[in-house]
Symmetry: C2
Subunit: 439 residues, 2 copies
């Protein structure tokens, strides 16, 4: 066993052996390899915060439903591309119960994770109008969504929303949408990586500007209900998860089972399409799709061509979980609150030792404690900070990869940090602070 910080020569040798420049500049995969090597050379465990993956078991009633469906023979039968009747129905109920928004069963469609949801949406949206086909990213955001547009070969626009919260958001959105080139905009709320949440006023602004310029809003609800400052977990009872769907005419909501139900392994999510968008028709789309409206084009064109639907048994899992949430027999927020408790403790240890929370406020209130938080250390860039933290057995990823302008920052995910490692984390952070006096 080694003391913290690790022997620098030992760590540097491992870095050199793995042929990377610095830990702060390495990919997640490279970081993982370095950590494995350092852990094995020192006998010490890292506090691992680089991966945004669930840290608790999948919701059991989903697993049970899936096993039952397999026993009943679902593996042999092609699932319908538009999803099972029951999943469509429970999704619409879920959206009514927890977002207070009415949607039709037909508008609710399963996807192979929200990754497929956004890809299918992007691929369809980009074909609606030749001259209005760019997407605006309200950043920071999930890096792979940007990669999806790169692969499709279509231009993207983005801005970091940190300096444009509240009423300032309207003028900033006008700046992009008034050009008439923007087909859609996308954001996540709660936000990955920054864990801020848009409030109702901001969501209403987004909808207002979108409606004015006939722009589609893609709302990524990967962290649905995980802003634990409010209890969004009671069906049909306020407060509800804030959503742009209250005001926007054309929207796609993406609700993933990966984080809120810890169901990442089975690649299951739903997309919810507004009626105005489902029925939308354009001349240009006929070049790419045989279907005659957006809703049919994304389902029978894009989703069919991508994977011919979503695996059958995970659809049963999600149906059972939604149904239990809708019936009030399962509270999805309960097991997730552990993330908030850990985030609070870890942020406290950081702040007490000279660190700053980067995205710290939702306008006048502190951001919630949840799955992610962002942090920095005075005098260091994000890359330097991550490289230096490696000697202290702490890993995270740089905010730069999430297209944040706050390049001094890093994103931490609390999910994989065991409770017993939190005092260890506090100690390492204290030692780091002692070794790096702030000038």
């Amino acid at each position: 066993m080694q003391n913290i910080p690790f022997d620098r020569a030992l760590v540097d040798e491992i870095i050199a052996k793995n042929k990377i420049k610095s830990v702060g500049a390495a990919s997640i995969r490279e970081v993982k390899k370095i950590i494995d090597d350092v852990e094995s050379a020192t006998g010490e465990k890292f506090v691992r915060m680089e991966m945004g993956i669930p840290g608790i078991p999948a919701v059991q009633l989903g697993v049970d439903a899936e096993i039952e469906a397999l026993k009943n023979g679902c593996a042999a039968i092609y699932p319908d591309i538009y999803g099972t009747k029951e999943l469509k129905h429970e999704t619409a109920r879920f959206v009514k119960n927890f977002l207070d928004v009415e949607v039709e069963d037909d508008a609710c469609v399963p996807t192979v994770g929200s990754m497929q949801g956004s890809f299918a949406a992007f691929m369809t949206i980009a074909r609606l109008d030749e001259k209005k086909n760019k997407i605006l990213f309200i950043d920071p955001g999930f890096p792979v969504q940007k990669q999806q547009w790169n692969i499709l070969g279509i231009e993207t626009l983005h801005f970091d929303v940190y300096d444009y919260r509240g009423e300032k958001l309207e003028a900033k959105l006008e700046e992009y949408l008034a050009t008439g080139e923007v087909a859609a905009m996308i954001y996540s709320s709660p936000n990955n990586p920054a864990w801020f949440s848009f409030n109702e006023m901001e969501l209403e602004i987004i909808a207002k500007v979108a409606n004015k310029y006939d722009v589609i809003v893609l709302e990524d609800l990967a962290y649905f209900g995980m802003d634990f400052r409010q209890d969004y977990s009671k069906p049909g009872v306020a407060p509800y998860q804030p959503t742009v769907a209250k005001w926007a005419k054309k929207f796609v909501l993406m609700i993933s089972g990966s984080k809120i139900f810890s169901y990442a392994g089975q690649r299951i999510a739903v997309m919810v399409i507004s009626k105005d968008l489902f029925d939308m028709k354009t001349e240009h789309m006929k070049k790419y799709f045989t279907q005659d409206c957006f809703g049919r084009a994304i389902i029978f064109g894009s989703l069919y061509a991508l994977t011919s639907g979503t695996a059958f048994s995970p659809q049963y899992a999600l149906t059972a979980i939604f149904k239990a949430c809708n019936d009030g027999s399962y509270n999805f927020a309960e097991p997730l609150k552990e993330y908030g408790i850990k985030a609070e403790q870890m942020k406290k240890a950081l702040v007490e030792n000279g660190f700053k929370i980067v995205y710290d406020k939702d306008l006048d209130v502190d951001v919630a404690d949840g799955f992610y938080f962002t942090f920095s250390y005075p005098g260091l860039t994000g890359e330097e900070l991550l490289s230096e933290l490696a000697y202290y057995g702490i890993s995270a990823i740089s905010l730069g990869v999430c297209r944040s302008t706050r390049t001094e920052g890093a994103r931490a995910c609390v999910s994989l940090v065991p409770n017993e490692m939190i005092p260890v984390f506090a100690e390492r952070v204290k030692k780091f602070h002692e070794d790096h006096p702030i000038k």
Copy 2:
């Protein structure tokens, strides 16, 4: 109960009510609706041959493995994009045991059905070279693969191979590939819809011309080993499923679990990439991918962006089935032979009653009896034939949708025809013949 043919007025009324022009020109979905309505109005069951879906239960040892993996907690964990180590290894063993081709474990990657396999391959291939990005379809073929290119907005070329079997294939391929515009070609063997199989000479020609013009070959093995004229089901023992991989430098093989293991519901397949293709680098691809070679671009670029990997539990299912095939403890061909027996009986009934088999020969020998067959009736177009057969309680799809030039033909899939319906089929075909004397 009604006699065959059904009362024409009754059927015509149902067709009119469903607002379609004719059964022969309707989509599969429309046909299904008409059939449901006619069945309910007459009390008579159709002989349903329009859908290409498994007619037997999923391989049980796959289902068992999947249930076990779910019990062990796989639902909570993001699967690696490149697939589990065990699945990659068993796939490489399967390719060696049943195709007699050596590939590396790394080259074997799970996909969300072969639908995703071909989409990911197309999307990556189209980005390799701006001027060499067309695909040649050796038709007839699976209609959705063509739709995948439409959505990607890239030009396709195709020809019906019926008149170019054997040595004639070389000059025909030269005609397309010599232009230098073709990036890849695709075909399925055994063929959907025509059920012909390329022989080793033809596959060697395809490889030879592809190698000459540095063109990628996509071989869709959806019906792997289902040419029952030979026994391809013994691991490591000749004869082996014929494959272009014996000679081609750059290839992708797509092996789906949907038909050969009746595992369509769980959307699971593998793609196998040749070493030369995996390592291929081009300047143009850097515009779309951050990865530096085809293999990494298709996995960490395309497959990541499409669905972030393949659902976890179906990977365990496919691993268990491949392993059992490799170990010789499970013979995948046995339960499938039922399809061949049904095809033989049904083709016999047709031929005895004036019908023709459209794609009838593999050069000098009859095509195999298997999952699909193609048929026509003298004096009728495919559309007329299908419309007329509806009165006799028989459904299929037109060869036109499979881009066959043989528009007099229809494709029949035997999988959903119960054994006890085969005498009924024979009777109806006989009645049809009596009512439609050949001039």
